[in-house]
């Protein structure tokens, strides 16, 4: 109990200090970010850090930004979060699924500090919100491109962990590839990591050796694109989480492997939530935004994609953005052939958030 009291006192003292100082308008609001990878990963963490920088740019010297990179998802996360809380952060964004229990545990000890946990589902205390993006909307778009572009009819997906978010992505990618090309076959490789360039490259290499010529990744680094680049234009891929525009053109000027990208744009959400803390209007919530809100963005398509395919893609983006098309619209069956969505039926958020099954046509099993 002593530790808890000590912490609570420290927290109360620091809050009292900031509170008093904020009242006379001199103290800054401190927004803190915990990252699972390095900010230079060129993907997931890079994009969250862009969000942090956007907050700084928006509010200037009214906010102070602090962050910590490469924090392991486990016991260390709880310590890092506690130290952040003690250092006077007013709002803390924890940007990976594995921080879920640590976020809630620390939030319990610091009721005056707001916590925002990305991609999780536990909100055990009133000061914890969760936020996520509808990445499967982006997967639908690149799935369509994959279906239209593959010559070997084999497309690949480097999957991180068998959690619903990833399974949504796999299903959405395959569903739209299949709609564009009924002969398409999907190869899924599980790497059990969010960020490990060597493992990601190995997975890409293994797929290429099996004849896969379109690769998408659900991991954070640019390694799969670097591997695809070695195939001299025969294998294409997509920027993941970030634009990865560096892979649009090879060093020798030939078109690079990156033909489009799914960009996670956290900037609007981060600015909105930090502003709410500054105004004292922050409330617990569970945000799940996508293309309509500008949180999921498709990066520039290169000329490797033929004009007619680009036109189809733009049409799909417009429909999803306008809310007239949902990527999971029936008829869709589950892998075992049983019916999931009837003709015209749209998946509800609850089913998607807990998705544990492949749709019909995907071979292999979800690891158990």
């Amino acid at each position: 109990m002593l530790r808890r009291t000590l912490l609570a006192t420290a927290a109360a003292a620091s809050m009292a200090l900031t509170g008093a100082a904020m009242a006379d308008g001199h103290e800054k609001t401190k927004a803190c970010f915990v990252y699972v990878g390095p900010i230079g990963d060129g993907g997931w963490t890079y994009q969250h850090h862009q969000g942090a920088l956007a907050v700084q740019e928006e509010f200037g010297d009214k906010v102070e930004i602090a962050y910590q990179e490469s924090v392991p998802e486990g016991a260390d996360a709880e310590r890092v979060l506690t130290q952040m809380a003690l250092s006077g952060c007013n709002i803390i964004f924890t940007t990976s699924f594995g921080y879920m229990d640590a976020t809630n545990a620390v939030a319990a000890k610091f009721p005056d500090i707001k916590f925002e946990h990305a991609t999780g589902y536990k909100r055990e205390h009133p000061n914890v919100s969760t936020y996520d993006a509808r990445f499967y909307e982006g997967r639908a778009v690149v799935g369509h491109i994959a279906g239209r572009m593959t010559k070997t009819n084999k497309i690949g997906y480097i999957a991180s962990f068998p959690i619903p978010e990833v399974i949504q992505g796999i299903n959405s990618y395959f569903h739209h590839a299949k709609k564009a090309n009924p002969d398409v076959e999907l190869v899924v490789t599980w790497v059990y990591t969010w960020f490990d360039p060597a493992k990601e490259a190995d997975a890409a290499r293994a797929m290429i050796d099996q004849g896969v010529d379109v690769i998408t990744a659900h991991t954070d680094s640019t390694a799969p694109l670097a591997e695809a680049a070695k195939e001299g234009g025969k294998v294409i891929g997509f920027g993941q989480a970030s634009d990865m525009a560096g892979f649009m053109t090879n060093d020798d000027g030939t078109p690079g492997p990156r033909v489009a990208s799914i960009i996670d744009n956290w900037n609007p959400y981060y600015i909105k939530r930090v502003k709410a803390v500054m105004d004292g209007t922050w409330e617990q919530g569970a945000s799940w935004a996508g293309m309509p809100e500008g949180e999921v963005v498709i990066g520039e398509m290169t000329d490797v994609i033929p004009a007619d395919v680009q036109a189809e893609v733009n049409e799909m983006i417009a429909a999803i953005t306008a809310g007239t098309y949902h990527p999971f619209t029936g008829p869709i069956n589950k892998q075992d052939g049983s019916a999931w969505l009837a003709d015209g039926e749209v998946a509800d958020d609850g089913t998607l958030a807990g998705m544990k099954f492949y749709i019909e046509g995907i071979t292999g099993d979800i690891p158990q």
């Binding site: 109990m1 002593l2 530790r3 808890r4 000590l6 912490l7 420290a10 620091s14 803190c32 390095p38 900010i39 602090a66 962050y67 910590q68 990179e69 490469s70 924090v71 392991p72 998802e73 486990g74 016991a75 260390d76 709880e78 310590r79 890092v80 506690t82 130290q83 952040m84 003690l86 250092s87 699924f97 594995g98 229990d101 589902y121 962990f161 068998p162 959690i163 619903p164 059990y192 807990g354 544990k356 690891p367 158990q368």
Partner: protein, 361 residues
């Protein structure tokens, strides 16, 4: 001309001085690196080495955390040091750590939600057995087939990682966790929770076990026949064989004890600070412990101090990265420098520096 001359016997002074020189050299070189990154080097070094202990805002939290972070390092390093002294190289403590956690937590969760004071002791024993058995694989392969225990133990780390992933997704997955990977959190299962013994001190059973292991290893090496055999086998393998040391038994003993201690460390971590079996459960304690063992001169008391110092650089490094925005990679480089300088300065234990031309013998 500068040259190195081998000392007739290792210098006692330098044996004790090298860790201190290495830490000072790390501070200087690390300071230069921080300065090159545009950060105030003095402030960075102060945050790393001073603030976790004495900062008015953080210290009350981070001081107990030092014990939490150091305990698994010390526990594993003590086990490794016995083998290292005898020339038996267990590089796979990370895998034994994982297996100890899986077996121990698995046994505990098998009894969920039974509320009995027997559950935790049973978990502790199972954790030690899990690590022990995993270490027996390289041990028995070495004894019966003369395989290299360095390679086998190291490669088994990756096998253990896959088993860990499979356990978090399958057998041990929390049935009430909405299908997400990861076991039940042992923190919410009091009978299986390795809670703080005295609140606010960071002192949990793993810390106690680490202290006991230090004392046990000290007595073993200083007073026991087996300790003498370990030292003899490392320093003079031929003499050891003539002296009646059974090398195969020594291999199994050293690998077994280091495996069991690594398994214990894993169990105390999974039932305490970490709370659950998850895909990312292991964070490299098994590898860092190798640095700790050498930094501590393979001596039990040295390892105790080295473990605390390593924990200090972890926690101080986190603070420095939070407060000054120092990249995580720079902190890792800083920790790497510590081992680098230690090995470099170590030369002075066995050699002395001579200026001038070599004499003709």
């Amino acid at each position: 001309m500068v040259r190195l001359e081998k000392r007739p016997s290792p210098s006692k002074t330098w044996t004790y001085l090298t860790p201190i020189v290495a830490v000072v050299a790390t501070m200087i070189a690390g300071g230069l690196m921080f300065a090159a990154l545009g950060k105030d080097p003095v402030e960075a070094i102060r945050i790393i080495f001073w603030d976790p202990l004495f900062h008015e805002q953080f210290a009350s939290f981070s001081r107990p955390q030092l014990l939490v972070k150091a305990a698994p390092l010390i526990l594993i390093a003590i086990g490794l040091s016995l083998g290292f002294r005898a020339g038996i190289w267990n590089i796979g403590a990370e895998g034994q750590y994982i297996m100890g956690a899986i077996v121990g937590a698995g046994i505990g969760l098998a009894f969920y939600p039974l509320d009995s004071f027997l559950v935790f002791p049973l978990m502790v024993i199972s954790g030690a057995i899990g690590g022990f058995l995993w270490a027996m694989i390289p041990g028995l392969l070495r004894v019966y087939f003369r395989t290299n225990e360095i390679l086998v133990s190291l490669l088994l780390v990756y096998v253990a990682e896959f088993i860990l992933a499979s356990m978090s997704l399958g057998l041990l997955r929390n049935p009430e966790g909405a299908g997400f990977p990861g076991s039940r959190n042992l923190k919410s299962y009091p009978a299986g929770h390795n809670a703080e013994l005295i609140a606010g001190t960071g002192m949990h059973w793993g810390v106690v076990a680490a202290f006991i292991a230090v004392i046990f290893a000290y007595i073993l090496l200083a007073r026991h026949m087996l300790g003498f055999q370990i030292k003899l086998a490392g320093q003079a393998p031929r003499a050891a064989r003539f002296g009646g040391v059974n090398p195969d038994r020594l291999i199994l003993f050293c690998l077994g004890i280091s495996g069991a201690l690594a398994g214990l460390a894993g169990l105390f971590e999974v039932s305490g600070p970490s709370g659950q079996i998850s895909i990312d459960f292991n964070v490299g304690y098994g590898f860092t412990a190798i640095i700790v063992a050498f930094l501590g001169r393979l001596h039990p008391i040295g390892i105790l101090l080295a473990g605390l110092l390593m924990a200090l650089t972890y926690i101080g490094g986190e603070l420095a990265s939070l407060m000054l925005g120092i990249p995580a990679a720079a902190i890792q480089a800083f920790q790497g420098m510590l081992l680098f300088f230690l090995l470099a300065v170590d030369v002075l234990t066995n050699y002395r520096i001579r200026f001038g031309k070599a004499e003709v013998a």
